[in-house]
């Protein structure tokens, strides 16, 4: 095998090694729940209440005909359409198409929120996650699609499909989402270094924002410049090390735990939540393996009890 062919095989093994379809189905449902939670408040509806003079549409939003902000009534309809698409996607009815519809509807509504001269970064990885899962076989199991497929084969008296629990196309959405998150954090760290150099971590910048945001914990921290500096260095190390997790899979749990710590810190000290980013970590939980572990643990406990039962009664 030539070197190139070997590299190609390694590439394929990285992206297309068979993985459980159930994990992808769980990801589909979780993503729907996250988007539904985003629609739980009035954040998008608020766009219709903002004065038109604050409206600075993105070029492609203007091209779609929104040279003025959408009205509240229009936004209500966008919200309703999103909820219908979400329900279909979560139940697995025309799974890929429904999830793609969710993506398009959500993309436009998130774009509305970015038409006031300020870029919001918090939901960008979520949109990518929707795209990746929508392009994968996310409705092959745990879906109405799967039930319909089975029923159709029965009606047509076709031989039953072999029950596939794994697919070579069930892994890549998680891998690519990790690449997106790695790029997201890395670019944030890189922008700091490019703009300010290592002096960004001297504690002054963090102290400034702590004073500005003025949370009780933040005001306490602002008094301790050395601690501010140490935390700033940790932030840079955390953000810049994410690309390592793309190739070193064993590093991912560490990075995800560090990510939770990082976001806890920004919530506590700076009142910055970014929950649509860190909630995506739940997609990296190996649900199928977890369920298998739980099942075997339950079986072990039950058989232990069954063995102990006769002895106890005697």
């Amino acid at each position: 095998m030539t070197r190139l062919a070997a590299a190609w095989e390694r590439w394929r093994a990285f992206w297309f090694a068979p993985a459980p379809l159930a994990d992808l189905a769980v990801a589909r449902v979780l993503l729907c729940a996250i988007v539904l939670r985003l629609h739980g408040d009035v954040r998008v509806l608020g766009v219709g209440l903002v004065s038109a003079e604050h409206w600075k549409p993105l070029p492609w939003i203007e091209a779609l005909g929104f040279s003025r902000p959408p009205t509240v009534l229009e936004l209500v309809w966008w919200g309703r359409a999103t909820r219908i698409a979400l329900a279909c996607a979560a139940l697995g009815l025309a799974s890929n198409l429904s999830l793609l519809a969710v993506l398009v509807l959500q993309l436009v509504q998130e774009a509305f929120l970015n038409c006031f001269g300020k870029t919001n970064h918090a939901t960008i990885p979520l949109l990518y996650a929707l795209l990746f899962v929508a392009l994968a076989p996310c409705g092959r199991v745990l879906s109405i699609d799967a039930l319909l497929r089975r029923a159709w084969r029965r009606v047509r008296a076709l031989p039953a499909e072999p029950a596939a629990s794994c697919s070579p196309y069930a892994r890549w959405p998680f891998e690519l989402l990790f690449v997106e998150l790695a790029a997201y954090y890395f670019l944030a760290g890189f922008a700091k270094l490019r703009e300010s150099g290592i002096l960004w971590a001297d504690g002054a910048t963090l102290q400034y924002y702590l004073l500005e945001k003025a949370t009780p914990a933040g005001l306490w921290l602002a008094e301790h410049v050395r601690l501010c500096s140490a935390l700033s260095l940790m932030v840079l190390a955390f953000e810049l090390s994410w690309p390592l997790g793309v190739v070193l899979r064993r590093l991912r749990p560490v990075l995800l735990l560090a990510g939770l710590g990082f976001h806890w810190g920004t919530i506590t000290f700076l009142r910055i939540s970014f929950w649509p980013v860190w909630v995506l970590y739940v997609l990296f939980v190996p649900w199928t393996s977890l369920a298998e572990h739980l099942r075997s643990a339950a079986r072990a406990i039950l058989s232990q009890r069954a063995r102990a039962g006769p002895g106890q009664s005697a």
């Binding site: 004065s51 949109l127 690449v179 002096l199 004073l211 190996p286």
Partner: protein, 167 residues
């Protein structure tokens, strides 16, 4: 994470069979995605949804003092603070204007008029504010030995041009 079945030289996956076309198409997508991410970082792209995620990236040296900006309205003789949500703006969008715009009177008047206009549109004219003012103040910073300043500007609440008075 994702404890999915691994592949190795001994696994059933590993083989030299011809690559299925979806894998080729997806591989092109992966490369395109990685290129996009590199471009976002290298070119400093900031055109939503493309972003170089440049948040809090500018250094704020120890002698730069943070500024707090607030907007107040008066209704029935009672003064109350107007929050970004009252104008259906995010905190960032609100502060970008109230704190960073050079003409505080203008920014403040725009917000106050906008607040009243939206109340009128919803038929809640009785809740309109009769006066408004904005403040900008330096926040004392540990290590900076100077007395923080504070400024207060009156705002126009009706659609006539604002007076720009600074009481």
């Amino acid at each position: 994470m994702q404890g999915r079945p691994s592949t190795g030289p001994g696994s059933a996956y590993h083989g030299t069979a011809r690559t299925p076309w979806p894998q080729v198409v997806l591989s092109v997508l992966f490369v395109a995605f990685a290129t996009l991410k590199l471009a976002e970082g290298a070119l400093g792209l900031e055109a939503w949804p493309f972003t170089n995620v440049s948040m809090f990236h500018a250094r704020q040296p120890f002698d730069v003092v943070p500024i707090r900006a607030r907007l107040f309205g008066v209704r029935d003789g009672t003064t109350f603070e107007l929050a970004p949500l009252d104008l259906r703006l995010s905190e960032d969008e609100f502060l970008t204007r109230l704190r960073d715009e050079q003409d505080l009177g203008r920014a403040c008047s725009d917000f106050a008029r906008d607040y009243n206009r939206r109340l009128a549109k919803r038929g809640r004219d009785r809740e309109r504010i009769t006066a408004a003012y904005a403040t900008r103040e330096e926040i004392a910073r540990p290590g900076v030995e100077r007395r923080p300043w504070r400024t207060r500007v009156a705002c126009a609440v009706d659609d006539a041009p604002h007076s720009g008075a600074s009481p």
